[in-house]
Symmetry: C2
Subunit: 127 residues, 2 copies
């Protein structure tokens, strides 16, 4: 867990191919963004974009990918993923065909240091 409040939580996903992969998970059981009240939609996107900004600050990725699917798990959650031109799937979405075996997208930072820095950035941005 990187951050949480009473509405949602932010976790770092343990994905061997993609180091900077976070999820924002809404606490209440709802399916779609348009099931949220207006204020909650704003809050949710504020958190998603704080995670985007934190990943940019810490990892300086080539691109951020944002996605909200929930086809298998119809509980509102966002994927926020730092992409690198050398990562396993680039330029495909990470759900597309693998392009290479390399784990080049991984950061030089240790997992614990990455977790620490993202926690710091997100908390700071959402103060």
């Amino acid at each position: 867990m990187l951050w949480r409040d009473d509405k949602c939580r932010v976790v770092l996903v343990a994905d061997p191919d993609h180091a900077g992969y976070c999820r924002v998970i809404w606490q209440a059981h709802l399916k779609e963004m348009t099931d949220l009240a207006d204020a909650d939609q704003l809050h949710c996107m504020r958190v998603v974009l704080a995670v985007e900004r934190a990943l940019r600050n810490v990892l300086k990725p080539h691109k951020i990918n944002l996605a909200e699917f929930g086809n298998l798990t119809p509980h509102l959650h966002w994927h926020v993923i730092a992409r690198d031109v050398h990562d396993a799937h680039f330029p495909n979405p990470i759900w597309g065909a693998r392009q290479r075996q390399t784990r080049h997208g991984a950061t030089q930072l240790s997992a614990s240091r990455l977790r620490e820095q993202l926690t710091f950035e997100i908390s700071n941005l959402l103060q």
Copy 2:
């Protein structure tokens, strides 16, 4: 084109596998949501979620999928896709492995009628 203002435009994508597939394209050449000013982030999400609501109203899909990638085209744009359990890729994202040949995800509505209804709904929601 389904809708536009001076900031962004909404188009219906001609995808034979996915009838209710829209894109929201930001006019200014920017790469990431966090490159937008706060007010523009809000505006962009307001339009994206109006398209989500319009697709729900018109097509009653199983799930909406939202995505902002831009790995190949680093110009801010959102995919807003109505998903059906019988569509070509479900439960995968539409960028994942095809699951079936059927075009079952297609609506009974003609393309022109769908376009008309979505235009009406989006305009209404963004008034």
